[in-house]
């Protein structure tokens, strides 16, 4: 197992380095930051001075080698706009996104397991139809629209929740609610599908014949065997959330890494783009390892080998 993890880590380091090289050159293709950083009426001399100050006047390969040299010293550069270390900016934003993502995926997963399992227990029943309708609506409703309607209903009309921002526990309800809608919808569908398969398996029939209680059959026997596909889909969804929930972060004023990354790309704040990509890439690498380990825990037949 440790050998496998070591090999997987090595692959990931190579991937992350490749990604950083790619991001370095792709960001430079977007153009000269001085046009976005300086006022439109800045003189050509001011633009030249700006480029010289930040090394953008150097040939691209020199800039790249300087960047690699700085990386070796763990110097990820300064944010052009924020006047501080780009990595500091990224690391400040990432925990905000991580907390939101963890809670949304945890709640969505837990709820989906219950709803999906109960729906699968009696396919075609009223509850099953209702669960399908709700999950389809959740999976397809646009985040932006749901967020705005949520604000209008719960904050403006009913005055039950704050419109946006961070601070109290109440500030978390709407962002998490909106963020978990799509994962919940998708996971209910997956759980229902795999559970219907599992509940028609011979071992379930045997358990029924032996008089095991219905709830135990569903939640102890069938659910555990249905979890692998659910973990795969949940892992994908968690990866996309860890990457940043841009819409939710934007609408609710959540200071996460998704919005930070998009803003940095738009503003050509290269060092911040590179730092946010590095942080999220590392997080996704760790998440993938965790999912692999979870597979092995859930299904003892799965064992990872180094060769």
């Amino acid at each position: 197992m440790f050998g496998y993890l070591g090999k997987r880590a090595l692959h990931s380091v190579v991937s992350v380095l490749g990604l950083l090289v790619l991001v370095f050159f792709l960001t430079r293709l977007t153009g000269d930051p001085s046009y976005l950083f300086l006022p439109l009426d800045a003189t050509p001399q001011a633009r030249e001075a700006f480029s010289a100050l930040h090394g953008f006047d150097q040939p691209l390969y020199i800039q790249f080698f300087n960047y690699l040299g700085d990386l070796l010293h763990l110097d990820f550069g300064e944010s052009l706009r924020q006047n501080r270390s780009a990595m500091e900016v990224a690391l400040e934003a990432f925990p905000q996104t991580l907390k939101l993502a963890v809670m949304a995926i945890f709640l969505a997963g837990a709820l989906a397991l219950v709803v999906g399992s109960l729906a699968a227990a009696k396919p075609g029943s009223l509850f099953d139809r209702f669960a399908s309708l709700v999950s389809l609506a959740g999976a397809s409703a646009p985040d932006f629209w749901v967020a705005i309607v949520g604000i209008l209903v719960f904050a403006v009309s009913l005055d039950l929740l704050p419109t946006s921002g961070t601070g109290s526990a109440a500030h978390w309800i709407m962002p998490i609610g909106v963020l978990m809608l799509r994962p919940f919808g998708l996971l209910v569908q997956v759980v229902r599908g795999t559970m219907i398969g599992a509940l028609s398996s011979p071992y379930v029939k045997t358990a029924r014949a032996k008089g095991v209680r219905r709830q135990k059959i569903i939640f102890s026997h069938a659910l555990r065997n249905s979890l692998l596909p659910v973990i795969t889909v949940a892992g994908d969804l968690a990866t996309s959330l860890v990457n940043g929930a841009v819409v939710v972060e934007s609408v609710f004023g959540w200071p996460g890494i998704g919005k930070l990354m998009i803003d940095a790309i738009i503003q050509r704040d290269f060092a911040v783009v590179q730092s946010t990509v590095l942080v999220t890439a590392c997080a996704i690498f760790i998440l993938n390892i965790a999912i692999d380990i979870l597979y092995a825990v859930l299904d003892p037949r799965i064992r990872y080998q180094t060769s």
Binding site: L36, L38, P39, A49, Q82, I148, S164, A169
Partner: protein, 504 residues
């Protein structure tokens, strides 16, 4: 079973840890929350001309020597009480006595010298320096409260220019931009985090004690959300909401925001080098219909500065809507061999202002209706800037460029040279008479200066028809019912907290 218990505990711990961050500073009779459209990138006083920085810093933490009166564009005393011109290239400023920075250091001539040296030192990028163009400053303290500022060339509007020079404590690092500014303003910085900026009233302020004790700034991109935050009482003020969100006459106020929209004509390229073609472009547009796109409060523009800016010509009438006359002028030009059928590229900038794309599509249709062949292209800001500034792209062909210009600095000198002088960064034409007039205007003072700029606007509008001024734009601000404050021409660049009063 034990595993399930552990999982529940972990989940509970995550929930509690996640929600245990400190609450926002809100509430309190003298405390207000202002919700801005975007996060301040930084709090460097040298970047205060940028809206996101200036709306927090200017007149609150930092103050300049002079401020521009939004009513008539004249420089008024702030940290300088008076000033006089010693000779063509030297101005003498007399400084306010008894002023202290928020760190306790004294404001004096040495502090002015330090600030201006820091601005012009080149150790970091100073955006505010853009307003000075190529002007080079040298500062000489005469005595403790008097300072001489010398320029290489005569600079009649130096007092107005200095309205963007925010005085900072001599303890401020001179070699790098900062996020913890210390100025002489009525508020000092408490905290600046990725979620809020908090300012506290500065008890040692030289002026009148403001009503507001604490101001918390938060930011939300969505206009409807900002409006809702003021409506629900989560915030008390938000600048720049969209017209469709300005629905409450008790709290929503419109104001002329110093921005002027226009289409720049590339007069070097045929058929746009013919004045009849340029006039036809102006006459072909249904301006009343266009105004509905941008809000009925917008003001039809005849020139690139708003009323209230020194040099604005109130007698200049905007072009009207006369498609028949436009078609006639085009026919005349065609008869004289002007290639009026050439495809003209109409270049827009994505997101330049609300309904900007729709406006261009409407104009394209109206131009084509009188006989023009227009090809609309939308660009992002970097590509668009290539067409805006010299050197222009070699193979650009005949083109019309969507632009918006902001001048709230009191004087047409911040507009005219850059647009209309043959060496101007945005100028696509060269007219010796206009060049001469601009030279005279820049060196003139008082009413002579005003008249000179007015004549230039008249020349470029009536005789040369060098561009297509569209509208002086309107901004909308929502102000909570507990506050007594109205936005004005300067609101896009500053929101002076000391001017906000609490209703009794």
């Amino acid at each position: 079973m034990r595993n399930k218990g552990a999982l529940s505990k972990i989940a509970l711990a995550v929930l509690l840890a996640s929600t245990a961050s400190p609450a926002l500073a809100q509430g309190g009779a003298n405390n207000i929350t202002i919700v801005l459209p975007e996060q301040p990138s930084n709090l460097e006083p040298c970047g205060s001309i940028l809206t996101d920085v200036g709306q927090v810093l200017s007149q609150n933490i930092t103050e300049p020597l002079t401020v521009i009166d939004p009513k008539d564009g004249t420089p008024q005393p702030k940290l300088a009480t008076k000033w006089e011109r010693v000779n063509d290239t030297t101005w003498r400023f007399h400084l306010r006595d008894g002023v202290k920075f928020q760190d306790g250091k004294e404001f004096n001539a040495e502090a002015v010298a330090f600030t201006l040296k820091r601005m012009t030192g080149g150790a970091f990028t100073c955006n505010n320096l853009a307003k000075f163009g190529s002007a080079k400053l040298s500062v000489t303290p005469v005595d403790k409260l008097t300072v001489d500022i010398k320029t290489e060339k005569p600079e009649p509007i130096l007092p107005a220019l200095l309205s963007v020079a925010m005085m900072v404590s001599p303890a401020t690092p001179a070699d790098k931009a900062v996020n913890d500014p210390v100025g002489t303003g009525p508020y000092k910085l408490n905290t600046f985090t990725p979620q809020t900026v908090v300012l506290d009233r500065f008890d040692g302020y030289w002026g009148k004690t403001p009503d507001i004790a604490k101001a918390t700034y938060v930011w939300r991109g969505e206009s409807s959300l900002r409006a809702a935050m003021v409506q629900t009482g989560e915030a008390q003020l938000t600048p720049t909401i969209a017209i469709q969100d300005a629905t409450n006459p008790k709290t929503d106020f419109s104001y002329l925001n110093s921005e002027t929209t226009a289409i720049r004509i590339d007069t070097e390229q045929p058929p746009l080098n013919d004045v009849r073609v340029r006039k036809a472009l102006n006459l072909a547009i249904d301006w009343q219909g266009m105004a509905e796109l941008f809000g009925t409060d917008v003001l039809r523009a005849s020139q690139m500065v708003v009323p209230g800016i020194n040099g604005h010509n109130p007698d200049l009438k905007p072009w009207g809507y006369d498609p028949d006359q436009a078609a006639k002028l085009l026919a005349e030009a065609k008869a004289d061999g002007v290639p009026v059928g050439t495809t003209i590229k109409l270049i827009g900038r994505n997101g330049i202002y609300p309904n900007g794309n729709e406006g261009l599509e409407a104009m394209m249709t109206m131009w084509e209706a009188v006989g023009f062949d227009i090809d609309l292209t939308m660009l992002d800001v970097a590509d668009w800037t290539r067409y805006l500034q010299k050197p222009f792209p070699q193979e650009r062909g005949p083109n019309l460029l969507q632009i918006m210009h902001d001048n709230n600095k009191g004087d047409a000198a911040f507009t005219v040279p850059i647009f209309y002088h043959s060496s101007g960064q945005y100028a696509t034409f060269s007219d010796p008479k206009v060049d001469t007039l601009i030279g005279e205007a820049l060196n003139a003072t008082d009413t002579g200066r005003t008249k000179a700029f007015q004549e230039i606007f008249s020349e470029v509008h009536d005789r040369i028809a060098v561009d297509i001024p569209m509208f002086h734009m309107i901004g909308y601000t929502r102000v909570g019912e507990s506050l007594d404050w109205r936005p004005n021409l300067t609101t896009n660049s500053e929101i002076p907290l000391a001017e906000i009063r609490l209703k009794k």
